[in-house]
């Protein structure tokens, strides 16, 4: 897993609530057996008319070249629905390393963290402030400090992340490394409960 420390980037605004994982990556694209290449189908049905790649929906933000960056900013309850980790893979594959929302669905949040994509929960007020920024505005995310800053105004907000996950992300460790390191404890547990 890629380590994450500090990121400064423009952002992609998606002021829609309850963005479910079927929108992030529709089920018909889940037939792959690797984690690669999902980015091109990110928000597939919001990007194209009738699944036709030549027919862009002009109103959708990913079809507007002025909006780009490694930070996606979305309305509350982002990532609800299916547990498909393909949602996190498609976001990462599209070059997005941070998702900001005022509320995340549980499974998506875990999946994102397990892939080095940082989900940042901000207050609704701060979220609306970000949405009011223009397409050139930069955001800075500092994981060590647990802050997200709107560079133009200097306004910032603290975000929560548990210490364990923070350490994992800062160093690029994953949970499997940890679980393998406590294999003896697991075997002892099995013996005690058997």
């Amino acid at each position: 897993m890629q380590a994450f420390t500090v990121l400064t980037s423009t952002f992609i605004p998606l002021p829609i609530e309850n963005v479910d994982t079927d929108q992030i990556i529709p089920a018909r694209f889940l037939k792959a057996t690797t984690k690669d290449g999902f980015g091109k189908n990110l928000f597939r049905d919001w990007r194209y008319e009738n699944d036709d790649e030549s027919k862009h929906r002009a109103g959708f933000v990913l079809n507007q070249p002025e909006y780009k960056g490694a930070i996606l900013v979305a309305g509350k309850n982002f990532g609800c629905g299916s547990s498909r980790e393909h949602a996190a893979w498609s976001i990462l594959d599209a070059g997005i390393n941070v998702v900001v929302s005022s509320f995340f669905a549980d499974i998506f949040k875990n999946n994102a963290l397990n892939n080095g994509v940082l989900p940042i929960t901000v207050s609704d007020e701060f979220l609306q402030k970000i949405f009011r920024e223009n397409n050139n505005s930069l955001l800075t995310v500092n994981l060590q400090e647990q802050t997200i800053i709107i560079n133009r105004t200097g306004e910032s907000e603290h975000f929560d992340i548990n210490d364990y996950k923070k350490t994992c992300l800062l160093n690029g460790y994953d949970d499997i490394d940890y679980l393998l390191s406590i294999k003896d404890d697991i075997i002892n547990f099995e013996n005690q409960t058997a």
């Binding site: 609530e17 309850n18 479910d20 079927d22 929108q23 529709p26 089920a27 889940l30 037939k31 792959a32 057996t33 690797t34 984690k35 049905d45 009738n50 699944d51 509350k76 309850n77 609800c80 629905g81 299916s82 547990s83 498909r84 980790e85 996190a88 005022s102 509320f103 995340f104 669905a105 549980d106 499974i107 875990n110 999946n111 397990n114 892939n115 929960t121 901000v122 207050s123 907000e157 603290h158 975000f159 929560d160 992340i161 548990n162 210490d163 364990y164 996950k165 994953d174 949970d175 499997i176 940890y178 679980l179 393998l180 406590i182 294999k183 404890d185 697991i186 547990f189 099995e190 409960t193």
Partner: protein, 485 residues
């Protein structure tokens, strides 16, 4: 500032000081290997179900580390999400689907995992086969790379959906990392109205608390109305816990649970039964146990339900009207509903009753069990479907399909003009060829009405098997109570 990431032991401590525990806590405590300071706990997993879609990358992950699955006897596999529901004896036509299913076969072989694949008499939707084979038992921890794993909670187990990284963790260590969720209890007391079934109960709850109303919680369903329900009906309720954001749902096991399990293929045998039963009977929330949140609902207030929007929280009574936009106070919510109605091709402030539909889908891990199909058969027997609707009935498993035949329900369905297909997830998620065409309406017994869920542009109305059955005959959104009159 959000508090949701804070690891909060408040409930646990409160209950410990009184010696009272919730059902969830009793199971949780027995499965924690260790807790990381300021972080999650390492939870031991009793049963790990896998399927073809969310497992291949996890197998690749452990293989890259040069590892084998740690406890293959605790893993059970089936092929369900991506399989065709006709001609399952023939090679799968879609190349990517075929490769994915083939990959599962090879992975299970290499790692010595029991696979109930296509053609096996135990094959079916993972959340249908676990319970029907007696694999799912009270007090267990159960995971699967599928959000509807909460279904198994109906047996009084901690069961929840995980992502593929966690599937890999479970392969590598038979453990996953979990922060202790907050606990909610939803009590449903009293007697249900006529023609109201468990699907209506859960659609009603989600409509009340919204599609994110239980995020961060594990939900226990309790009360006299829940106790009255069969296991199949309880599974329908626990199944949709995720649709209000809950990590899972569970119901204390009782005689209904024990009677259901007894004698099933992998249920404890006669020698072990009494011992297991004594353990299982301790699985309930103590009288003084405290929950972070409690919701009380009178069973009598629940009508037959239907959804009009693009998340499962957007549901109304079958006789209700879609929201009047001006009456929605919250701006975000107003925008959501306008967007949802636009996608659905519906007007605000109008009833759904009488609206023509083109498709009926009876199936999915929510409502494809034998009891669901019996319900459908009971109200359509001797009738013929409306000419303008296509009706697809997809049994949840090979076992259910066999039971359908044994009871002669297949004749009732065929005579009604319903198409009976073979077991799989099918049009619930539109991964295989079972899709609803763009712009057309489908009354579906499944669990999600998201945009494009049943096919790009498809419009889904979630409802109970009874409501779906009535619409199959009339061709329009119908109040089952009028239909039965």
């Amino acid at each position: 500032m959000s508090k949701e990431d804070k690891y909060d032991n408040a409930t646990l401590n409160k209950n410990e000081s009184k010696g009272a525990k919730t059902l969830f806590e009793k199971i949780w405590e027995k499965h924690i290997v260790k807790t990381i300071k300021g972080g999650p706990s390492v939870m031991y997993i009793d049963k790990h179900f896998i399927h073809e879609v969310t497992s291949p990358q996890a197998f690749k992950g452990i293989e890259k580390r040069g590892m084998k699955v740690f406890r293959p006897q605790q893993v059970v596999a089936t092929a369900d999400h991506n399989v065709p529901t006709v001609n399952q004896h023939l090679p799968i036509k879609d190349e990517l689907s075929r490769l994915q299913v083939q990959q599962l076969i090879e992975n299970c072989k290499n790692h010595h995992i029991e696979l109930y694949g296509l053609g096996h008499p135990f094959q079916g939707i993972v959340h249908v086969i676990g319970p029907e084979l007696g694999i799912t038992q009270p007090g267990m921890t159960i995971v699967c790379g599928d959000s509807h794993t909460s279904t198994h909670g109906a047996f009084g187990s901690i069961a929840f959906g995980i992502g593929t990284s966690e599937v890999e963790m479970a392969f590598a260590s038979q453990c996953v990392m979990q922060s202790k969720p907050k606990l909610m209890r939803i009590n449903i007391e009293g007697k249900l109205n006529k023609a109201v079934v468990s699907k209506d109960i859960i659609l009603y709850i989600i409509a009340q608390i919204s599609a994110s109303g239980a995020t961060g919680y594990f939900v226990e369903y309790a009360g006299s109305a829940i106790r009255e329900l069969s296991m199949e009906a309880r599974m329908t309720i626990c199944n949709m816990s995720i649709e209000m954001g809950a990590r899972g749902g569970l119901i204390a096991p009782d005689d209904t649970t024990f009677d259901y399990i007894k004698g099933r293929k992998f249920a404890p045998g006669a020698a072990q039964w009494d011992l297991k039963l004594a353990e299982w009977k301790k699985l309930y929330s103590d009288k003084d146990a405290v929950f972070d949140k409690e919701i009380n609902i009178a069973a009598a207030s629940i009508p037959p339900m239907i959804t009009y929007g693009t998340n499962p929280g957007l549901g109304i009574a079958i006789t209700g009207i879609t929201p009047v936009i001006e009456s929605i106070p919250d701006e975000g919510e107003r925008k959501n509903i306008i967007k949802a109605l636009q996608y659905m091709g519906l007007e605000a402030g109008k009833p759904l009753l009488g609206m023509p539909v083109q498709h009926i889908f009876i199936g999915s891990c929510t409502n494809s069990r034998i009891e669901d199909l019996r319900l459908v058969a009971s109200v359509i027997k001797g009738k013929r479907k409306n000419d303008n609707v296509h009706v697809m009935i997809v049994p949840g498993s090979q076992q259910v399909a066999m039971q359908v035949k044994a009871e002669g329900l297949d004749k009732i369905f065929t005579e009604a003009g319903f198409q009976i297909r073979q077991a799989g997830c099918s049009a619930c998620l539109g991964m295989n060829e079972d899709k609803i065409p763009a712009g057309e309406y489908c009354i579906s017994t499944s669990n999600r009405n998201f945009e494009g869920r049943q096919g790009a542009g498809a419009r889904t109305l979630l409802a109970s098997p009874l409501t779906a059955a009535a619409a199959a005959i009339t061709g329009v959104v119908t109040d089952i109570r009028d239909f039965l009159r």
